[in-house]
Subunit: 532 residues, 2 copies
């Protein structure tokens, strides 16, 4: 999410979420800290959305609840956002306005937004040019250059060139693939590969890809029509997106190849394509359950071909490998390498980034949408193109920069960062809870309970010990009874008539040491004293 | 680990460990279940070890404790194993016998072992041919073919060819890289790239690689000598292996470039190379701590070049990415892609596997050392070379196969699988403990304690509630006091004079439901009743 502020006006582009890092135990999603925007709510005139991927719209249901301002996006983007808002019962309270590429919009007193077509791995993606009194700011959105896109809509080069002629103060460019030399391949090359597999396969073809990659799904439908196969759709998000995209006209099934799971049951294998979620090997996804023989309605048949039409997102490599192994075990043939031609990226490689910079000829070039190393690579590209180093700042989250004809200056830093969402809790899981979850996950917990007499502090009952996630209790009775002895000995030697906090911390120390000596583990120890 | 049984004799090859999967929370290492071998201990005559990597020797300290039989390995392999055995105080009780390539050894009445030189990413790696009455079994070990190895010792092709002439019943071939077309590059190509970086860099060069890759370390030393730099070694395992390898003569420092951390402090940056652990971005490794500015003695200086001379092992990709990002942030230049030429694999690609099969011309070809998909690719290669499908069995762990001139038959399955080691506990962490750790890690725990009067069951004290890893308690006082109310209400309505197990399970139900409604989380709920 980026916020652009001029005088008393703020315009926001995108509002995404991210998925939790592996150390954010139990966390569902991560949304941006928007305290600064909430504080300056009255200045905000609009949320402009580039496209419908989770990392661009997923935070909006949370953000719009606190900042109920108009949202602008293309038809498919709004369709996907509507689904999210409806789920949270918020749809009626949100103002969603449809825009289309080429449109100009006076979003606030001094700021005009002009939307332009870009290619990406979801249809209806736009970039946004903000025309401000300080100059033009061009935000690429997530983009690639596809000269032969599936829907025939190529990027609007002439509009970009006109921005360049008008004079661009700042270009903010997708740097996700700034490490990759050359050009990103066209999405249509994937269609050709998929069609070839459908032609050659003698059994069923199962294809896993991102649900939102509507153009890839269109190509599967087209190839199926060509080779007389029917296509069933499987997996919640795939069914959901295909439904929305069909309804809105982004998917066309002119040969009526789409059917349901029952529809393919009756067909011979070589007449069947199954589109499914699970291209990342996510343990609960449809494809993983099929690969584990745990899917309620589908199983692998020998002779099946499974295509992973996606690359593993960093962190998912092992899940994908495991799913591939399991599918092979069940007798399927599996096509899963990027070299197989069944996937292309949705992001611009180096030559595309350079072309973008050449068209825009900005004063300031800012890398966006990449890890730090991608930003560094973007910077190298921009330097090579003659942009001075001081004009290629790498912005950190929360930094406020002032960009003017004179200079790019870091003027202040606002509260920012990650807000963790766990169930209904937004931001209530912080470092302490995560640290506890981490310790619990490594060595479990031991609870020590005892009743002491009010006043005298006499031990009335216990110590009783309960452990979870520490050792297998049934086979560790000796350890448990020795642990009780350790606590009892401590109470005898030190008395029970102290501050309870002193007794508790003493028990934690002696028992922790005893258990570490015996097991080399550090369970969390919770002494509980009941006053009776 | 493979066991070979003939009549009343068993010979074992290797005894490795694996590192825990991400769902094995808190587990340190995983070793093989050797119950079958323990039961048949008296038949076992020897452990033959191919090389000194963890996945080939790491399980031995545990296995030898239960099965104290002679171990045979090359000098470096035994040197690394000795270190492990010494740490566990077992060295004096183990019989370690040094072998060398080319040597023949009557390991049991009917079985002769012949060791042959192969190339791999650690020196002193051998393959093993077992000459049995049933025929020759050739086990490749982990191998690649390097025509220009750093130590000049090429694979023993003529010996392999002679095995082929003699007639090989079974070839067991490293299939780790069976997916990769072509040949694996020579280790010396890495040396050239590293030398080039050392020549070009104007500041310090930090190089992270696997500690056991002694030949790569030798090449760093050689390049440093050539370009007049000194080399310091950093990180526990790197210091350890360099020490052993120097002592045993596997590393040579004829120009005295090796020094310590103090030694490089005084030198200008362009005179310094730092060899370090952390090529996998492991959070506690030396390089990660440097990248996080948390290393006690080392920090990144602008102008430093950091080389990752290793590819991420599956599962470590995110750790590596994060470390790379952090190093860039501190101003270093980072060389980290496999395309950069700073790493080559230690395993044979497809053409090398084919060459091995051509030399050995075995009746049975068995893929070893790969995931299932690699075994499938190996099978495809072997099929293409004319070996019939029934002669390319893919063995599952625990399966016992009988291989004879007539046929390869799966005759039985023995107890097998993974034994989890956590601290001092071997096998005491099983499914129940892991399931508890998983639940604790996701949603934490809530302990509910109350004292009931013996006999009457009257509530004397409590219910008291303690939670960890569930919500941030200081900001959830309302939730805690409502939880106590829910429990008290349950006790009032249902009485306290029931079986305690009934009361406990009732509390778990009502409180679990209440907390889920309020938070959409499922903490583990532990009711504890104290009888006073």
């Amino acid at each position: 999410m980026f916020a652009f502020e001029y005088d008393q006006e703020i315009v926001v582009i995108d509002g995404g979420l991210k998925f939790p890092e592996e150390d954010m135990l139990g966390v569902d999603i991560v949304i941006p800290d928007t305290s600064y925007l909430v504080e300056n709510k009255e200045k905000i005139s609009a949320f402009l959305i580039t496209h419908g991927h989770e990392d661009h719209i997923g935070g909006l249901p949370y953000i719009l609840k606190q900042i109920p301002k108009p949202v602008y996006g293309t038809k498919l983007t709004l369709g996907l956002l509507e689904g999210k808002l409806r789920e949270k019962g918020m749809l009626a309270d949100c103002e969603l306005n449809q825009i289309h590429p080429g449109m100009k919009l006076q979003v606030s007193k001094h700021i005009e937004a002009e939307f332009f077509k870009v290619n990406h791995s979801i249809p209806d993606t736009v970039g946004i040019c903000l025309r401000t009194p300080a100059g033009l700011i061009v935000h690429s959105g997530d983009f690639k250059i596809d000269h032969t896109p599936v829907d025939g809509q190529v990027m609007d080069f002439s509009r970009l060139a006109r921005f360049g002629d008008e004079g661009v103060l700042t270009a903010m460019i997708d740097s996700t693939n700034a490490e990759r030399p050359g050009f990103t391949q066209s999405e249509t090359t994937v269609g050709e590969t998929i069609a070839e597999v459908l032609r050659e396969a003698t059994g069923r073809v199962l294809l896993a890809t991102f649900a939102s990659n509507v153009h890839r799904i269109q190509q599967v439908i087209d190839a199926a029509a060509k080779y007389k196969r029917k296509v069933a759709v499987n997996g919640r998000s795939m069914v959901n997106v295909v439904g929305i995209a069909m309804e809105m006209g982004y998917l066309k099934d002119s040969h009526n190849v789409l059917t349901d799971l029952d529809g393919i049951k009756k067909l011979p294998p070589h007449k069947v394509v199954l589109l499914t979620t699970g291209s990342q090997g996510e343990p609960m996804s449809a494809l993983s359950r099929i690969a584990n023989s745990e899917h309620r309605r589908l199983e692998i048949l020998p002779g099946d071909t499974v295509i992973f039409a996606a690359n593993p997102i960093p962190g998912n490599e092992k899940f994908v490998s495991r799913t591939v192994d399991n599918l092979f075990r069940l007798g399927a043939d599996v096509i899963y390498e990027s070299v197989s031609g069944t996937h292309v990226s949705g992001h611009a490689s180096q030559e595309e980034i350079k072309l973008m910079l050449s068209l825009l000829r900005p004063k300031y070039a800012l890398p966006i949408h990449g890890e730090y190393r991608h930003c560094i690579h973007f910077k190298k590209l921009a330097l090579n193109m003659g942009i001075p180093e001081k004009n290629i700042p790498i912005l950190k989250i929360g930094e406020m920069w002032e960009l003017s004809a004179d200079a790019a200056k870091h003027v202040s830093t606002v509260p920012s960062g990650q807000v963790l969402v766990d169930g209904l809790g937004i931001g209530d899981v912080g470092n302490i809870v995560l640290r506890d979850r981490k310790q619990l996950s490594m060595d479990g917990i031991m609870v020590v309970v005892m009743s002491l007499e009010k006043g005298s502090g006499k031990l009335l009952s216990g110590p009783d010990i309960v452990s979870r996630g520490f050792v297998y209790v049934r086979e560790s009775e000796d350890l448990m009874s020795e642990s009780r002895k350790v606590v009892r000995k401590f109470l005898t030697e030190n008395g029970t008539n102290h501050e309870w906090s002193v007794i508790k911390s003493g028990i934690r120390d002696v028992l922790g040491k005893f258990l570490y000596d015996k097991t080399r583990r550090h369970p969390m120890i919770i002494p509980i004293i009941m006053e009776v």
